[in-house]
Amino acid sequence: MPDALRHKHLLEAADLDLDDATLVLDTAAQIEAALAGREVKKLPTLRGRTVVNLFFEDSTRTRISFELAAKRLSADVINFSAKGSSVSKGESLKDTALTLEAMGADGIVVRHSASGAPHRLATWVAGSVVNAGDGTHEHPTQALLDAFTIRKRLGRLEGVRVVITGDVLHSRVARSNVQLLHTLGAEVTLVAPPTLLPVGVGSWPVTVSYDLDAVLPTADVVMMLRVQAERMNASFFPSAREYSRRYGLDADRVAKLSDDAIVMHPGPMVRGMEIAADVADSARSTIVEQVGNGVSVRMAVLYLLLGGSA
């Protein structure tokens, strides 16, 4: 087991090999154990380091999660959102990045609507860049927290059968999860209407199915994705009701799952669309747990990227 990650940035799930990914998950577990039951949930590790949350796109849980993670490690946190900044006056990503660089940011957590924006950013700044979601490309810390949640609930990742259902085409969560879960030895099946699968899905390390009912009985994990109406510029399915009937997770479908299978959702979820309210609130659901795990995993990522000398 190595002590540190191979890469200075975390831009996509493929930056992590099996050792790296395992190191992040183990570190997150140790941090969680170290903070469990403590009154002072703060560690001095990143004292004097500055983390900038650079959010060009709306986010609730990811931004708060990164902010909390950085603060629990005693880093100074600057939150930057495009609204109310010079970006609305026409400043480019590069100029924004150079400004932050001049202010001495050690880590930049970036969310952007353009796929690849974090990669560009990483070439302009000296600090570490963490991708917090770029367009329809990747969201690696979400995949890490999902893997962490699966490992915690099921005790393993190797050989775990994960079904990812919904709007795969627009989902950065799906892309990162497919890559990371494959690295960690899980078997992934994608289920979606043909219109919501990306071109080239045939080259991904996954099995593709169009029939949710057929794959549920053998699944260990069902991960539901939100239908991203805001990214849709065409009609991908006839109606919300039809989508929900064929690809939504309701109580009848959950009854087909094995006893210890779990239901996941990266959030934000649309109750009644891809997931029924009673399923989201059931004991199988890890949706709230995923949020808590997100803080531990992001603390692990920030520690491993910013804790050392680099």
């Binding site: 190595p2 002590d3 570190t27 140790q30 154990a33 170290a34 002072v40 590790t45 520690y303 050392g308």
Partner: protein, 192 residues
């Protein structure tokens, strides 16, 4: 490559651990909060918590607890506090993998905590452990037990229980091996 020189054999380690266990019993009995001269003085052991500093301090703390229980019949609480996230040398030496932290269910508030480590050198690990303890509770008192004290302190820190004092040169390397981690017991010193 200079040959490592053996300071303690496996049997020596066992004897040293036994002696330290007896010293801990004596000290805990003597410091029992409610001791009014009566009883066997073992009440103080309920108050005692052994906290190991990973890697090798953790199994060492478990061994000491097991020996104390063998000698007195009283179980002693054990825990471990990983100090990596409290270190002052992460920037110069880089990040490293974390190790397990766990505390006894009864916590450490108001109790006698004895920190346990394999080698006492600069004292910086102990400082980090003290910082870590401060975040988990407020012990009545904190003491320090080490298997080997090799000198060269960089901070005003002193051990309360020492298995063996070993005068060394700063450049030498003292290596403690424990069966739980390394497959066998022993202490060696190597010239740089």
């Amino acid at each position: 490559m200079p040959e490592p020189q053996r300071l303690l054999t496996a049997d020596d380690v066992t004897r040293v651990v036994d002696r330290m266990a007896h010293q801990l019993i004596e000290r805990a009995a003597g410091s029992a909060t409610g001791a009014e001269g009566g009883g066997d003085g073992l009440d103080g052991l309920a108050d005692l918590v052994l906290i190991g500093i990973p890697t090798r301090g953790a199994p060492l703390a478990r061994r000491l607890a097991a020996r104390i229980e063998t000698f007195t019949g009283t179980p002693v609480d054990v825990g471990a506090v990983d100090i990596t996230l409290y270190r002052d040398d992460l920037r110069t030496r880089g990040v490293r993998a974390l190790e397990a932290t766990h505390l006894p269910d009864a916590g450490i508030d108001g109790r006698l905590v004895v920190l346990v480590d394999d080698v006492l050198f600069s004292g910086r690990s102990v400082r980090a452990a003290l910082d870590g303890l401060r975040d988990v509770g407020r012990p009545r008192a904190v003491q320090l037990a080490v298997l080997v004290d090799r000198g060269h302190r960089e901070l005003p820190i002193k051990a309360d229980f020492v298995g063996k004092n070993v005068p060394t040169a700063r450049s030498q390397q003292v290596k403690v091996r424990l069966a739980e981690v390394d497959g066998e017991d022993g202490v060696t010193v190597t010239d740089a």
